[in-house]
Assembly symmetry: D2
């Protein structure tokens, strides 16, 4: 399990959301309240959009609370769109390449959850990554494999469909591998630098916590409220997708990657 925070809206300094709040993401590294593991000290990372089309990326293996570089960057960088993450390793060593967010071209992705039985499914998940993307596989985590598989599924032109197809594929391969009992739990944020998508879904109906809040004219999405007065935080319902777009603002809709498959089965029957 891990903890994360994302923001989309008018440019803000990152430290306003990541460092200053009483229960900031950095504080959650040592004392998360709604995570399976209170300690999320297996590395940290931040990705942000500035003047380039591709995002900036900083990742490190130290616990967030002792990473002076992270704090200095958060204080300097002002961004209209950024993702930040503190990791509690499930599978995959503590290594920079296993820290979130993951970047590919103009895309950023981060994940909190688990691919049940990943240790046994890893090779099959790697097989979901297309040949031409395989060189981009730098670490050994389930999250990076999931992201690259989604890139291969067309994240660029059909972001939600690509994520849905990837989750469906993983559920299918777990079932084929006799790991059907192992749940796929997925709280994640993906962005192409313009639109932000935040997902909360699990194959067993029990996804990790996810909240959102208005921040001025922007939107914050986070694993858990990051300030004490958490009155303004709204839980994101299980099985939904929160989309934040520059023009049209935030929108919540149902998200069930298995639905289409269920539908297909009905038709096939």
């Amino acid at each position: 399990m891990c903890r994360f925070l994302a923001y989309a809206g008018p440019p803000v300094f990152l430290d306003e959301l990541l460092v200053r709040p009483s229960a900031s993401l950095i504080a959650q590294a040592s004392k998360a309240r709604e995570a399976k593991t209170a300690v999320n000290a297996d590395g940290c990372g931040v990705g942000w959009y500035g003047e380039r089309s591709e995002p900036g990326l900083y990742r490190g293996v130290l616990p967030a609370w002792s990473d002076a570089n992270l704090v200095s960057l958060c204080r300097q960088i002002r961004s209209r769109l950024f993702l930040a993450h503190v990791r509690a390793a499930t599978f995959g060593e503590v290594a920079t390449a296993n820290c979130h967010p993951f970047a590919h071209g103009r895309h950023l992705f981060m994940h909190n959850g688990q691919v049940g039985g990943y240790e046994r499914l890893r090779r099959r998940m790697d097989a979901l990554i297309p040949d031409d993307l395989y060189a981009a596989r730098k670490g050994t985590s389930d999250s990076e494999a999931l992201f690259l598989a989604a890139v291969g599924q067309g994240l660029d032109r059909d972001p939600v469909g690509a994520i849905a197809r990837t989750l469906r594929d993983i559920v299918a391969l777990a079932r084929d591998a006799g790991e059907a009992d192992e749940p796929l739990r997925f709280a994640a944020v993906h962005t192409d630098g313009e639109t932000l998508h935040a997902y909360r879904w699990a194959s067993d109906g029990n996804p990790p916590s996810l909240y959102c809040r208005e921040e001025g004219e922007g939107i914050v999405v986070a694993s858990e409220p990051c300030d004490e007065g958490s009155g303004f935080w709204t839980p994101v319902p299980s099985g939904t997708l929160l989309t934040v777009e520059r023009r049209s603002g935030a929108r919540l809709r149902m998200f069930d990657p298995l639905a289409e498959e269920a539908e297909r089965r009905v038709r096939a029957a």
Copy 2:
């Protein structure tokens, strides 16, 4: 605050005491039960005596639970005398040079506690280190300064007296600096490779926790019991010094570095 464990006795593999127990030191890195801070993830270290007169030393900045080197070393090394430590930084960056144990010649030292007001006393404490030892100052922690000051006080030929004089000096300089209200809390282990000294003392009568236990024909000293069935662990009383020698075994005696000073004052009055 930090957590530590030391052993003296017939040679044992380090992992028997540091890795395998249910509440091992490595487990305490993320979940200590009797420490001020449950998380002790600001680095770790182990020092041991093998075939050389001076000890081996391994220290790293990652949390102990994700340090594969530490686990491999503990599994390979068998030693009659070793010290191990997981750090929760109070003052001094997360850096190898600030990790315990500290080594000097054939001596090893580790500490759990605090020098109250250290941030303001640091220069005065550095001044306690003799000129010829100052080049050995590699980090910025209070514990290293205390150790080098004690080396300067004659740790080699009068180990207990040197520690006592150093603690007395620190209490005096805190008083002179108007920091008398800040307590000096000291749970520590020092060894010259033959005799092990474990101290538990505080200027305000409130030292960090310390326990000991027989382990076969050897003795274990630890910040807190490292297995669930903690029936055999004996608390080391506040204001005492536990000495373990090869021939004469373990011995507990009173330790009050300020007593001599009190005596002096009485005489002077």
Copy 3:
């Protein structure tokens, strides 16, 4: 390219071979003389056999010359069989998981050379690793993939045959992938804790440098001589395998993994 050194014989302290010589492996990290790259500062590692059946393993990402842990370990550990390596990354991030030696059960392996076109062959090479070993893949280097593939080929019961078959497989898949022009260059050491095998071979007849020398009653194998008076170092010829066994001592023989294939083709024709 990288530099390495291995030793088999009566127990010696590691620092005698790794630290003290004027052109020691640690010195070669910043100034190798016979390597493609003079700087080999992308991490370092040492594996050794002690009292356990499986080896100890220490690996770190800092350049060897600034790794105080490495020096302390080398000074403490005395071993009858050890491997040491300093890395110059070709493919694979600077990360602990990409540092040599690699360990699997009681086996140790390290490599200096290249799998030509690896970036394009990586997926195919990963496919050489059997399913039940895939979870042991921790990094992204060609060397680790080669090692795990060899484990899958039966390194345990037929060490030389397993390496030969693996090299043959890699040459074949490179040919199939249209990378036949890219050479496979292989200077490597493998041991199961008893017998040491040092290989020097390349598909284009141009393998990395490799030397050996008697050290008392033991044998040292190294990428290049590690002392100035290099008179006693013997170059290991290209296309040979040096085997060191406890009882029978050192033996040099021809090694051409493609020979059997050539033979097979002749037969098939």
Copy 4:
């Protein structure tokens, strides 16, 4: 010895000067041409001014060429004033706290050179740091001590005078300590976020190399030319100070911190 580069002028992306040139600072980390040591791989750092009054700071212990964070930051950050440094440690462990640049309030400082005999002078140099700045001493390098001493000498209101007095003090204490034969060599850049000062001076007339070049309407100062066509680089003469101000542009003048003292002696005689 180390290598560095600084820029002042219209905002540019950092990678244009630090990453893209054929002999960029990152390339100099493994292959400097005019440094005492060709390898400058003991850490790296960059400090820059953005929207805040105090600078951003990124420092890491890995060699610059393998630091993906450094490259990403250089690609994202656009700045009118920045300093970058790759380190070859003389004294002071490889640790983040010993990496340049050093920051204090709105000041940045970096140094290439040596305080001769520093290991023996260290305590005396620490004594040059005023009490209220001593808590800001995070590492053990001569450069950080020199910088904090200069802050204490009034770097804020009299930048050049403060540096001159500090250098004079160090020369004096070296003389008093019987280290007069050990040279003080000083190529350094200091800035308060507005004006950039680049110094090249040595007590033995033999300072490290330093060059400058026009870059559009800005000025680059560097230890050595960072592109092959080095025709436009001008050597900064020994014993001079290059000052770059927003309004008045670049100006070169004599700099001899000992001159005033010589003068004083003449007067006193």
